[in-house]
């Protein structure tokens, strides 16, 4: 499945001083995949576009803080 977030598993030592984070993630935004923008991509409505920060749905990839994700009850 295509995602805009990738995960990897860092090495965990038996002697790590802090509680190990077993999975780390990083952002891979749409600009890495699309190349030169093709014509006739789907657009947001003007008012949605002003809010999203882009007219183009394909480039929309919002980021939320862990606090906001807990509040919204969603995972990133």
């Amino acid at each position: 499945m295509f995602t805009l977030r990738k995960a990897w598993h860092p090495y965990i030592s038996p002697f790590d001083p802090c509680k190990p984070i077993t999975v780390k993630t990083y952002s891979t935004p749409p600009n890495l995949y699309i190349g030169f923008q093709p014509p006739n991509l789907p657009q947001f409505s003007p008012i949605e576009a002003l809010k999203a920060g882009t007219l183009w749905k394909a480039f929309y990839d919002p980021w939320y803080s862990p606090y906001e994700i807990v509040k919204r009850g969603q995972s990133q």
Partner: protein
């Protein structure tokens, strides 16, 4: 020449009094990958880049100043009513000693802005690759600031700014495609 519109590119609302966030946000004001560095880098590179992509650098460089103004508004709102005690508690004691509650072009660690943050190599591909890297670094900085903030109103504006970095990176990548394009060959989508 510029025309100034007396409003922000995107509304800035700050939900909670939290001067600590101002200390982090200052990174995007006067830091290496901040909005000031971005604006100055792009507008300066315009003169020696092939004319096909000058307009792009003008557009994005100009927009970066609009972003700088949004960050300034956030920092200002977060600190304007902070007492010296609150500034100290937010890690801004050294800032207060030098600047009172004034804004200053510095990074989150307090280092003043320097032109050594930006480059103009004169080689179009080298310059555009620097610009792409700068956009990705600014995007990441916004992620880390959003991660530390529970202010949904503020994060809404930061999310907008982060999305703009994604678009800027996309456009610089397209600029590279334009410049490396084989002359006279038709582009196929």
């Amino acid at each position: 020449m510029w025309v100034y519109e007396k409003k922000l590119q995107y509304p800035v609302r700050v939900g909670t009094c939290n001067p600590k966030l101002a200390k982090f946000l200052i990174e995007q004001y006067g830091g290496a990958d901040g909005e000031l560095a971005a604006a100055l880098r792009y507008l300066n590179q315009r003169y020696t880049i092939p004319d096909k992509v000058i307009g792009l650098l003008t557009d994005i460089g100009t927009e970066e100043f609009a972003h700088l103004e949004m960050i300034a508004t956030m920092v200002y709102k977060l600190t304007k009513d902070a007492t010296p005690e609150q500034m100290k508690a937010a890690g801004l004691g050294a800032h207060y000693a030098n600047h009172d509650n004034a804004l200053f072009y510095e990074n989150a660690g307090g280092s003043p802005f320097t032109a050594t943050y930006i480059q103009a190599k004169g080689d179009p591909i080298a310059d555009l690759y620097e610009d792409i890297a700068a956009e990705e670094k600014a995007r990441a900085t916004y992620q880390w600031i959003i991660n530390m903030s529970d202010d949904t109103d503020l994060n809404d504006s930061l999310r907008f700014l982060r999305e703009r970095e994604i678009i800027h990176s996309q456009r610089f990548r397209e600029a590279v495609e334009i410049l490396k394009d084989e002359q006279g060959k038709k582009r196929v989508f």
